[in-house]
């Protein structure tokens, strides 16, 4: 009836979505609450170290670790940080509010899958040059949709 009002009562699906290139340069960053920008950027930076550790060849490679989805990287009191890495070493990092208990692991997976599809579409845009930050408005809109969906 009042979809807009009901949306406000729930927390967002995620608070931050970041895409990091193969040489660890930021390609894209979407944040739902701009006041927390710096804090969230720290979270993303810390997550990169965890990803690197998970992907280093010295650690044992079991079946699970061959997946693109890396699972929960680490969590703090307020946030949970999930990671995903493509074969081309592009990293997706999603920061989720810990208070959002309704969020299931399968939903996180779906979110990453959708992100990956959006990313590959953005890459195939002939006006995009690989390695540059993604500035496509369409891409931004779609990612923000994921961010704000609950």
């Amino acid at each position: 009836m009042f979809p807009l009002l009901s949306h406000r009562n729930h927390s967002n699906m995620a608070t931050c979505i970041a895409i990091i290139g193969k040489d660890n340069t930021p390609l894209y960053l979407a944040i739902s609450d701009m006041d927390k920008e710096l804090d969230l950027q720290y979270r993303v930076h810390a997550a990169l170290d965890v990803i690197e550790e998970k992907c280093s060849s010295s650690t044992k490679m079991n079946i699970e670790s061959k997946e693109l989805y890396l699972g929960l990287l680490y969590s703090t009191d307020n946030q949970k940080i999930y990671g995903y890495i493509t074969n081309t070493k592009v990293k997706f990092i999603v920061v989720v509010d810990s208070g959002n208990v309704a969020l299931k692991e399968s939903e996180i997976r779906t979110m990453f899958r959708n992100l990956h599809i959006l990313y590959t579409d953005a890459i195939c845009n002939p006006l995009f040059s690989p390695g540059e930050p993604i500035t496509s408005k369409k891409f931004d809109k779609c990612v923000r949709n994921i961010l704000e969906r609950q």
Binding site: K22, C55, M61, S65, K66, E67, L68, I85, T86, N87, T88, K89, H116, I117, Y119, T120, I123, C124, P130
Partner: protein
């Protein structure tokens, strides 16, 4: 079938275009200091292949588990990647396990329409340059920097030599 021929036509037109652009350029642009024209044409083709491969691999590896090592990556290029582009797999992959890979295609798609014979061999390089770039671009995006050269001994078979450069 019809969509397959489209790609063949597009490719041969790109080849023709790249070879003609420099021919029609005014004399002043082709001074002695520049590399020979043929080499320049082929590097244009190779670069088109490179950017295509770079983008394409992003899409093709979306549903694929992470690659364990270099050999697994090369196998992917020989099977899934090759099938996506040429509708067939590479016939033979050989390696010395020290960074050299040889991909052999006994009926390379862009050469199958050329009549076999030694006379036509001189035309072969321009039809394999794009694919050299394609391989190099896809490997580059997968984190393997390499040099790719092609060798055509008898049409329509073709060998691609991939030399992985390690830093």
């Amino acid at each position: 079938m019809s969509e397959e021929i489209l790609f063949d036509c597009l490719h041969s037109q790109i080849v023709n275009y790249c070879l003609n652009v420099n021919k029609t350029a005014p004399e002043s642009f082709t001074s002695q200091t520049q590399p020979p024209e043929k080499e320049k044409d082929l590097s244009t083709l190779e670069y088109i292949g490179y950017t295509t491969g770079y983008r394409l691999i992003e899409r093709l590896t979306r549903e694929v588990p992470r690659f364990k090592d270099e050999l697994e990556t090369m196998k992917f290029v020989c099977t899934d990647f090759w099938t996506a582009i040429f509708k067939k797999q590479v016939d033979n992959l050989r390696t010395n396990h020290q960074g050299v890979y040889v991909l052999q295609d006994n009926a390379f798609r862009f050469l199958t329409r050329i009549s076999p014979g030694t006379k036509q061999l001189e035309h072969a390089p321009k039809y394999v340059a794009f694919t050299c770039g394609l391989i190099r671009g896809s490997l580059a995006n997968l984190g393997i920097s390499s040099t790719v050269t092609a060798e055509v001994q008898s049409i329509p078979s073709c060998k691609f030599h991939v030399q992985v450069s390690r830093n």
